[in-house]
């Protein structure tokens, strides 16, 4: 069965979306090796059924909390067909930080722009079309607690599943040049071939201990590569 993962910050209405997508067909278990709850369910749209996994609510993919590590490992290793990124429309800047990192991981992202009503009362006017164009991602505005936009979300997931695309957004030139240098070395030396090379490069630059361990590289080596 096709796999869909739900990712997003804490308190964005992720579990409401999860319930709306999966209805009564849910199963609660634990992530392997830890006591963190794992919720799975099945969602049906038209002729397909897909498995929906609720990832823990996180702000970032640095692997410094158990939750972050779980979410990161799932996306990297299980490679879900679609990642639904639930974004709080009333707090869009902070939420998009996670979105960018999902794209670094080459996830096939559909954005669920939730809490549209709250965004409005807070005085935000969001041009969804422009936002979608800028991010190069499909965006579905929703108000999950009122069950608004759920069918549209299912449809967007359905179509995203059929046309997988790798999107990447460029950062500023200076940092892109450095990322590219590292990426080239990684590809040439066949380091972590199962991981997205751009993701590995960025994590090495961030000084991510976990990736250092996996690659057997050190800060000194990275430094040498750059200079």
């Amino acid at each position: 069965m096709r796999k869909v993962a739900l990712a997003g910050n804490p308190n964005v209405g992720k579990s409401v979306i999860f319930n709306a997508l999966t209805g009564a067909k849910q199963k609660v278990g634990n992530w392997p090796g830890v006591t963190v709850e794992k919720k799975e369910g099945v969602c049906r749209y038209m002729d397909v059924e897909f498995q929906v996994v609720d990832l823990p609510g996180i702000y970032s993919f640095t692997a410094s909390t158990i939750d972050e590590k779980i979410a990161r490992d799932y996306i990297i290793n299980e490679k879900p067909d679609v990642v639904v990124n639930v974004v709080d429309a009333s707090n869009i800047e902070r939420n998009l930080y996670l979105t960018l990192q999902l794209l670094e991981m080459e996830a096939n992202v559909v954005i669920c722009l939730n809490k549209m009503d709250l965004a409005e009362t807070k005085g935000y006017k969001i041009n969804v079309k422009n936002l979608s164009k800028e991010l190069k991602l499909p965006i579905v505005p929703t108000i999950a607690i009122k069950n608004i936009g759920i069918d549209e979300l299912k449809r967007a997931v359905y179509f995203a599943m059929k046309s997988k695309s790798k999107i990447y957004l460029k950062y500023n030139d200076k940092i892109e040049k450095i990322i590219y240098t590292i990426q080239e070395k990684i590809i040439k030396q066949n380091i972590l071939p199962d991981y997205p090379s751009r993701f590995v490069a960025i994590k090495l630059l961030e000084g991510d201990e976990e990736i250092f361990k996996l690659t057997n590289l050190s800060r000194e080596v990275i430094e040498r590569w750059i200079s």
Binding site: V36, T65, D67, K122, G123, N130, L131, L205, R219
Partner: protein, 419 residues
């Protein structure tokens, strides 16, 4: 070399660019929520408001629940007498009358205050006040050089330490998480509440709310002290900065408050039917056997419980506590509700009078403080092991709690003598 800052900066730079092209922000005046925040998060008003609200919670729970508790108490007392008169087999009559209705029943007397605390805390949680309370307390702790950070997720879990410890997984950094887990048992859970209610009701009539709140605050302060000690002693790692999210204030929805309280009550009832029932049976056996020596529970001084109690008595004698308190505290290891359940058995039928005889206001406070601190219950030990990983750390928690309980109770008694 570290490009972390540059990469984070680059991400936000891009986000800024994207958002500026697609999101317009109309200037809005301050929301009501912001206005409330300027008051409840105020530098000087923050703490008094927090204390007042907590006091109101317990005062409310105590006052409103009293009539329900009295009703339950008389109901069980009637049931107990009926069972003892009408069941022909003496042992069975005592088992039902003393063990079930007297022991377990005496725990259930405290169900109403527990429920009302759940409701009141649920209202505070639903309005969005609890994270603010955590923030205000943290600020105060940091100011006096203590690391309050670690108990922030726990303030949200006054209900029970087990889910609160599981909630620490959202804490960044292994060290911070470990410290949070280690100090968590000091947060006063609902199972300790019956002890507070019982003793505050007998010795501090009229001031129950204040006395009960002081126990919760004591727990928080001790947690901050322990967090600081543990960090300095074992980890020598600097505090990492952290962000806290404050949801907007909102009107509490009665439905979610009540359903939350009901869920927690169900958990309590399930516990009552299983571990508390079993615990009450064990304590009934220990307080009524050997059957002939105790004359069917009339001479509790000859029971196994007394035998065990006298072993620990020398330890707690300096604190002004006798063997009955010792037995009650030992039973609390299974589940802290059993402390009052055991008192129900030891002072069969007349707990208030018995307590008034064996304790005074000072030793009552010491007893409450010990109940707060002395040991994590069995369920908490289990989750401590699963979350901390090593028995060594679990042992450390048990040890520091025992020592701390003794020290704090000792200070209370010394102070009481001077006064």
């Amino acid at each position: 070399m570290d490009f972390l800052d540059e990469i984070v900066g680059a991400r936000y730079e891009l986000i800024d660019k994207i958002v500026s092209k697609s999101v317009e922000k109309k200037l809005k005046q301050k929301t009501v929520s912001d206005l409330i925040d300027t008051v409840v998060l105020d530098k000087y008003l923050g703490i008094p408001i927090f204390l007042t609200l907590m006091w109101a919670v317990f005062r409310f729970a105590f006052d409103v629940s009293q009539c329900f508790s009295d009703a339950i108490a008389s109901l069980f007392s009637i049931a107990s007498n009926w069972a003892k008169l009408n069941i022909p087999c003496k042992v069975l009559a005592s088992l039902v009358g003393d063990g079930v209705f007297g022991g377990l029943g005496f725990i259930l007397v405290y169900l109403p205050p527990i429920i009302f605390v759940f409701v009141a805390l649920g209202i505070l949680e639903d309005t969005g006040y609890l994270p603010r309370a955590a923030f205000v307390m943290d600020r105060a702790m940091t100011k006096i050089g203590l690391h309050g950070k670690s108990f922030i997720p726990m303030l949200l879990g006054f209900g029970c330490n087990v889910p609160a410890i599981l909630a620490t997984r959202t804490i960044k950094g292994d060290v911070d998480r470990k410290i949070s887990i280690i100090i968590n048992p000091l947060m006063s859970c609902s199972a300790r509440l019956p002890v507070y209610v019982l003793f505050a009701g007998v010795f501090f009539a009229g001031y129950e709310g204040a006395v009960i709140v002081s126990m919760y605050i004591l727990g928080i302060v001790l947690a901050a002290i322990m967090a600081t000690i543990v960090r300095r002693a074992f980890f020598s790692e600097e505090l990492s900065p952290f962000l806290m999210e404050m949801p907007d204030f909102s009107m509490p929805s009665m439905r979610s408050v009540l359903s939350g309280a009901w869920l927690r009550t169900q958990i309590f009832l399930k516990k009552a039917a299983t571990i508390l029932f079993a615990g009450a049976m064990v304590m009934w056996y220990l307080t009524h056997f050997p059957w002939s020596a105790t004359a069917g529970g009339k001479l509790i001084g000859n029971s196994y419980a007394a035998l065990i109690g006298h072993v620990v008595e020398p330890l707690i004698r300096p604190l002004g506590l006798n063997w009955k308190a010792g037995v009650a505290l030992l039973s609390g290891f299974m589940a802290k509700e059993l402390v009052v359940g055991t008192f129900g058995l030891l002072y069969s039928g007349n707990v208030c009078a018995g307590i008034r005889h064996d304790f005074n206001p000072v030793t009552a406070l010491a007893m409450m403080a010990i109940t707060l601190i002395y040991l994590p219950c069995l369920g908490t030990v289990g989750v401590l092991k699963s979350e901390l990983g090593e028995w060594k750390w679990v042992g450390f928690v048990v040890l520091y709690e025992l020592v701390l309980a003794y020290v704090v109770a000792g200070l209370i008694v010394c102070f009481g003598r001077v006064m």
